[in-house]
């Protein structure tokens, strides 16, 4: 029994870490711009597919490929913001939702044209066997993801709290008008937030690719689950993204283990609805009134 429970937990952590790293992208963008990008999952997909090209097809060393992928996807995010978000003449939530949904279809199409329809395998970064703890097994790659996400969260927290640019970005989120009066270029900040969020998406894509494999349509479900995780932890909260992701992953694994595997996908969305109804600010989110 213990062994099973532990194995469910480990499975949950693997998925949860994936959700967490995607949730991080959502939260970063939201905390700076109050915007939700429904195409976030597709940037994850771009990251994974670009890694295939750079690392496996062109044979670049992994760290270099990693950096190039993140830069390239960040650039794609900047282009996306410039062409599709800033040009919007009527920035209603409805309009922005549809634009980002449109972008997700667009990017999925590009992914299919560019990389084909078949899933592409990516070898694990570590040639290590799975780690055994009390009869349960954990993949080194999952551990790697959890650690990386934690470091990312810490680094981003530092960035927002301690650096001038970071502070300016969070100021923008709180009050655009006031920020621009203080001489903070809100447009530049939005652009940066997009680059950061999509770059984080790419990081997610690169790290999870060995576990999930890379396909053009991998992003949509991952994006939605990542969003559920972000909501669960508190949209806009960085540590919340981590906790929400792990929680969601573990809840799904336990659901499969003890209830029914067929209802697994419903778990994430049931949790999403519950959190929206009961505590829309999430577990770690600040109690704020203006957003509702």
């Amino acid at each position: 029994m213990m062994q099973e429970l532990l194995q469910y937990l480990f499975g949950g952590i693997t998925n949860g870490a994936i959700y967490a790293v995607i949730a991080l992208g959502f939260s970063t963008l939201y905390s700076a711009t109050d915007l939700i990008n429904f195409a976030q999952g597709e940037f994850v997909m771009l990251g994974a597919l670009l890694l295939v090209t750079l690392w496996l097809n062109l044979g670049l060393p992994l760290p270099l490929a990693f950096v190039l992928v993140v830069l390239a996807v960040g650039l794609a995010g900047i282009i996306f913001e410039r062409l599709a978000i800033r040009t919007v003449s009527k920035p209603d939530p409805i309009v922005l939702v549809i634009i980002t949904v449109g972008a997700s279809i667009f990017l999925r199409g590009l992914g299919m044209v560019g990389w084909g329809r078949d899933p592409l395998a990516i070898p694990s970064f570590f040639k290590l066997d799975s780690i055994e703890i009390a009869g349960a097994y954990l993949l080194p790659q999952s551990l790697f993801i959890v650690i990386t996400v934690t470091i990312l969260v810490a680094a981003l927290t530092f960035f927002y709290k301690k650096t001038l640019t970071g502070k300016a970005m969070s100021a923008c989120a709180i009050n655009k008008k006031a920020a621009s009066l203080l001489g903070i270029g809100t447009e530049r900040m939005t652009l940066m937030a997009f680059a950061l969020a999509t770059g984080l998406g790419a990081v997610a894509g690169v790290m999870i690719a060995p576990i999930t494999m890379a396909t053009y349509d991998m992003g949509s479900m991952l994006g939605l689950k990542g969003f559920c995780a972000a909501m669960l932890g508190g949209l806009g909260s960085l540590w919340g993204a981590l906790i929400g992701g792990l929680l969601l992953g573990i809840a799904e694994a336990l659901g499969v283990g003890f209830v029914s595997s067929g209802l697994k996908d419903a778990i994430a969305f049931l949790l999403l609805l519950l959190i929206l109804y009961i505590r829309p600010t999430g577990i770690l989110g600040a109690k704020s009134s203006h957003r509702f």
Partner: protein
């Protein structure tokens, strides 16, 4: 005051004429279209128009987004499917059940969900749609599971077989016409004005005494019932249903129909559903680039014509007219 009354009369007369012409076009289209393909194509457009008009009441008029509307479409289809296949009911007996099931579920779900706004409402409705989709797939004993439900009977009434291309076209478009008529009356009434008021400022609407929660819930239930009607018509047309017809992508397609055609415009919903139902056929030539183009169109319309095609084109026309008039005035 008198003049106003006169204007109102004139306008309603014009509207009546528009409906009349529209009904005539459909009648003759059914009469002269001999090819079953065109008939069924038109029928599909009609079904999607129903869905778009219903969703438009919610999105275009009341300003509440729903990214899970395919769920209600599915509830309508699966209710009538299950009742006719498993229990052997007549479709006409299952129709009220399908509409009621969708309305009741919309009421239960809408009550907490419609308290949300903006992205959160979008996500809440999306979550609901996902959960329903899982249910359609997993509740195999009722829904037939992932492989779908076979053996749904076709429609007939008083011995007339309604399943011929022409008859079904008339049935579906008759429903569309009635729905148009109802929606038009709603929009131009005390209730409709309150809904539009919520769209522009929920705060001000409640400050003039509109029970915004109730109004939103009412229109949500209303659009869910129309979606269920569309689902009913779909199920008895295709005589087979499976979860794939009611998933997230379909919800997105419905939203796209509303916004591309034009929000807050009944005729816009017609245009949007026609365009998007025909789109796969035109994009067929682009094969692999279809998705890219589809996504691009969605983004482009929203960026440049956030009011949709009908409104957007009208606005441009109006601007052009005003600009032309301006110098003459000076």
């Amino acid at each position: 005051m008198n003049e106003n009354w006169f204007d109102a009369m004139k306008q309603s007369w014009k509207k009546g004429l528009a409906f009349f012409v529209f009904a005539g076009v459909i009648f003759f289209a059914g009469l002269f279209l001999d090819n079953y393909f065109y008939q069924q194509q038109l029928t599909f457009i009609g079904i999607f128009t129903l869905l778009a008009v219903g969703l438009n009441m919610l999105m275009g008029y009341a300003g509440q987004i729903s990214l899970g509307h395919a769920a209600f479409y599915g509830i309508g289809a699966y209710t009538t499917g299950a009742l006719t296949v498993h229990l052997g009911w007549s479709p006409w007996a299952s129709l009220p059940c399908a509409l009621a099931a969708s309305g009741i579920i919309a009421y239960i779900v809408g009550k907490p969900t419609l308290k949300l706004s903006g992205y959160y409402l979008g996500m809440g409705t999306l979550g609901f749609g996902m959960i329903m989709h899982v249910l359609f797939r997993e509740w195999g004993s009722i829904t037939g599971g992932p492989n779908g439900l076979v053996g749904i009977p076709s429609l007939s009434l008083w011995g007339i077989d309604l399943s011929t291309g022409r008859n079904y076209l008339w049935v579906v478009w008759g429903c569309v016409l009635i729905t148009f008529f109802i929606c038009d009356r709603l929009v131009n009434s005390r209730v409709g004005r309150a809904l539009r008021a919520i769209h522009f400022s929920e705060q001000a609407a409640s400050a003039v005494g509109v029970d915004t929660a109730k109004a939103k819930l009412q229109v949500f239930v209303f659009s869910a019932i129309i979606a269920a009607l569309a689902g009913f018509l779909y199920a008895h047309l295709v005589m087979f249903i499976s979860p794939g017809s009611f998933n997230f992508l379909v919800s997105v397609k419905l939203v796209a129909m509303v916004v591309i055609g034009g929000m807050a415009s009944i005729w816009g919903a017609l245009l949007g559903s026609t365009l998007l139902t025909m789109l796969p056929e035109w994009l067929h030539a682009f094969s692999d680039y279809e998705m890219v183009i589809y996504g691009g169109i969605l983004m482009g319309v929203m960026i440049f014509l956030p009011q949709g095609l009908t409104r957007g084109v009208l606005d441009i026309y109006e601007k052009f007219r005003i600009e032309r008039k301006q110098p003459a005035k000076d």
